[in-house]
């Protein structure tokens, strides 16, 4: 058991799988020599050498195309898209090629690949380097999408993603890279498609993801001090979605709140809200409420960025108001 940063956990998860399986390669901008601009791939070049850890030109389409072609022909590449915002320059390869090819070819082509990416806000990087794009990927049939919130989950979900025979979008939250947590020794293999109850509770269900998980937990503690016992679920995996854990909780508590970092319209919570309003309708005791960034780009100034993203306070206040009305 060791204390590890979220950032180091990324490299550990990849190294664990590269040691086991020489078909696993890593490719991306500055991932080799520099160990990644977020230092999430430090040490991999040294351990696995330049044929398995490859620095590339600034050519996101070429990077993901290379990952796809390699996956089609027997390898299991991990590709990095440095900031998730840059998916926009290679979205075709992701949504039209990688996501659809197995289906379109009647199952002839396997695409065991992982695209890891630095996602999310809070670092004052401005509107083009701070987006939470899980929802972009969730909307596309054929992509699996995970967002870990702890170092242990990073290792285990990375391993699960690499071992999975389908393409996985692996969203690392930039705002969590410096965070630390206990990580057990030895290999860790988690499962895609599983949510985790981080804090059990009876009065309401809060769904959260990525950097919103610690905020939701802190809000839950604040609410507990005010007599409200809320359950906090770390959704972790948007596709596959653990509807059993999620909707089971909603049915038990009768109230659903989502805490989403993304701009409101069509954040992941919209889908879960719509599911709950269908499948848990008779169990609901009150409106479903989503706590999101308003539907605006993220401003760069620290004071403004903090203002618009869901915070411990805004989460607690919204839920308290809702539960008491």
């Amino acid at each position: 058991m060791a204390q590890l940063t979220y950032r180091d956990a990324v490299a550990r998860g990849i190294a664990q799988e590269m040691r086991r399986d020489e078909r696993v390669l890593l490719v991306g901008e500055d991932v080799a020599g520099a160990g990644g601009v977020f230092k999430t791939t430090v040490g991999l070049l040294d351990e696995f050498g330049p044929t398995r850890v490859v620095d590339t030109p600034i050519s996101e389409q070429a990077i993901l195309g290379a990952a796809m072609g390699a996956a089609m022909t027997g390898l299991r590449p991990v590709a990095e898209i440095m900031f998730s915002d840059f998916f926009a320059v290679c979205w075709d390869i992701v949504v039209n090629q990688i996501a659809k090819t197995r289906y379109m070819t009647g199952g002839q082509v396997s695409l065991p690949l992982v695209i890891k990416t630095g996602n999310g806000g809070g670092l004052r990087f401005g509107a083009q380097h701070s987006q939470s794009i899980e929802n972009w990927a969730m909307a596309i049939p054929g992509l699996k999408v995970v967002t870990p919130s702890t170092p242990e989950d990073v290792v285990g979900l990375m391993a699960a993603a690499i071992r999975d025979d389908d393409p996985v979008i692996f969203c690392e939250h930039k705002g969590l890279y410096a965070s630390k947590g206990e990580v057990p020794d030895g290999d860790i293999i988690d499962s895609l498609g599983t949510a985790k109850v981080r804090r059990p509770g009876r009065d309401a269900t809060i769904l959260s993801l990525g950097m919103m998980v610690p905020r939701a937990l802190a809000a839950a503690e604040a609410l507990a001090a005010r007599g409200m016992d809320v359950e906090v679920i770390d959704v972790r995996s948007l596709v596959p979605l653990d509807t059993q854990t999620i909707l089971g909780s909603v049915s038990r508590t009768g109230r659903l709140f989502t805490v989403e970092e993304n701009p409101q319209l069509l954040g992941w919570g919209a889908e879960i809200a719509s599911l709950a309003s269908d499948e848990c309708f008779w169990d609901l005791d009150g409106p479903i409420q989503r706590i999101t960034t308003p539907h605006i780009p993220l401003p760069s100034a620290d004071s403004l960025e903090d203002l618009v993203m869901p915070s411990e306070e805004s989460i607690a206040t919204t839920i308290e108001k809702a539960l008491q009305s």
Partner: protein, 354 residues
């Protein structure tokens, strides 16, 4: 009228005419067996696609479809030159490239008809023909993407040390999209065993390539931007294609990196099913129809001593094969409704939830 070598003045698109001398390659050092193979292959493509067109007219082929009538020499030349385990990456205009790899006609035609015995079970259609077991790694319908994907297959071959080469076909219009540039640079940097083949038929959909491209030769004039030699070939002469293909494949297999080949050709029909192709000057169309790769090749074989009977026998065999495929395709069942819900994921299913 001008040849592919004259300068282009933008906004003044003039016709490019085919070469005059059809005997140039008579003396090339190519086995006669290979040559009859080239002929047979082109014949298959031609008859198959004409049949597909007829089936359109009868409303049996659904959706859209893009024929390469007139462009067969490129697919055939590469098909004959490639190793069995090499990889083909083609576009929506991929019928010929699929047949060139030995994929049987029935499943290809059945796919066009949306039948259960289609190559992709009816889930891909004409624009996505793929047969992994034949090295046919897919037909891609969004311009540019597959150049980057071909790189990946080449990277994999390089890493595995398999000696395989990825061959990627695309059109003149494709040279202006960003992915082309990224793919070429990427391939050159890592010396990937990939051959990029631009089938320059001088039109994107309905717009002349000369009107929307900054250079005269959309691929060859870009080669130096990637440290590559320009290679401009006659795409209507199967022998010229076959030899150029061999050189590029050898180079790739030797570890010397990618090639970019521009093969000048012409499509006899419109861009797709919906297009009568009226935007092209009729004398241009006529000149190119007169330089039909099948006629060029038939005449050459005759000059080289192959008997007319032997060629007629091939023609008859091909026709019979296309007839059989037609019957089998038409007789195919509609896909089972459940098949819409298979093979999104590796577990065979489509579920996104528990």
């Amino acid at each position: 009228m001008r040849s592919p070598l004259t300068d282009h003045v933008y906004g003044q698109h003039a016709s490019v005419l085919p070469p005059q001398d059809q005997t140039r390659h008579d003396g090339d050092d190519i086995d006669l067996a290979v040559r009859t193979g080239l002929y047979r292959s082109m014949r298959e493509m031609r008859v198959f696609e004409k049949r597909a067109y007829d089936l359109f007219m009868k409303q049996l082929v659904k959706g859209t479809s893009h024929l390469s009538l007139g462009m067969e020499a490129i697919a055939a030349g590469f098909g004959q030159a490639m190793r069995r385990d090499d990889y083909t990456f083609a576009t929506y205009r991929g019928h010929a490239h699929t047949l060139a790899r030995g994929v049987p006609m029935t499943p290809v035609l059945a796919e066009l008809l949306g039948r259960a015995n289609g190559l992709l079970g009816g889930k891909g259609g004409s624009m996505h023909l793929t047969s992994v077991e034949h090295g046919m790694m897919g037909s891609y319908a969004i311009i540019g993407a597959h150049l980057t994907i071909a790189n990946g297959a080449a990277w994999s071959a390089q890493y595995r040390g398999s000696g395989q080469v990825a061959v990627c076909f695309f059109g003149d219009g494709t040279t202006n999209i960003g992915a082309f540039h990224e793919a070429l640079n990427y391939a050159a940097v890592y010396k990937l065993p990939v051959v990029f083949v631009c089938e320059n038929n001088m039109y994107m959909e309905y717009t002349s390539i000369f009107d929307i491209t900054a250079v005269e030769r959309p691929a060859a004039d870009r080669a130096s931007a990637y440290g590559l030699e320009p290679v401009l070939i006659d795409g209507n002469d199967a022998d010229e294609v076959y030899l150029a293909a061999g050189r590029a494949l050898d180079r790739a297999r030797a570890g010397d990196g990618p090639s970019l080949i521009e093969a000048v050709t012409y499509r006899h029909g419109g861009h797709s099913r919906a297009d009568p192709g009226k935007y092209r000057p009729s004398e241009e169309v006529e000149a190119w129809k007169a330089y039909d790769p099948l006629d060029v090749y038939r005449d050459r074989l005759i000059r080289l001593g192959v008997s007319a009977d032997e060629l007629l026998a091939i023609d008859a065999e091909v026709l019979a094969a296309v007839d059989t495929a037609t019957q089998e395709a038409i007789a195919g069942d509609l896909p089972a409704p459940e098949s819409a819900f298979t093979d999104l994921w590796a577990d065979g299913g489509w579920s996104w939830r528990n």
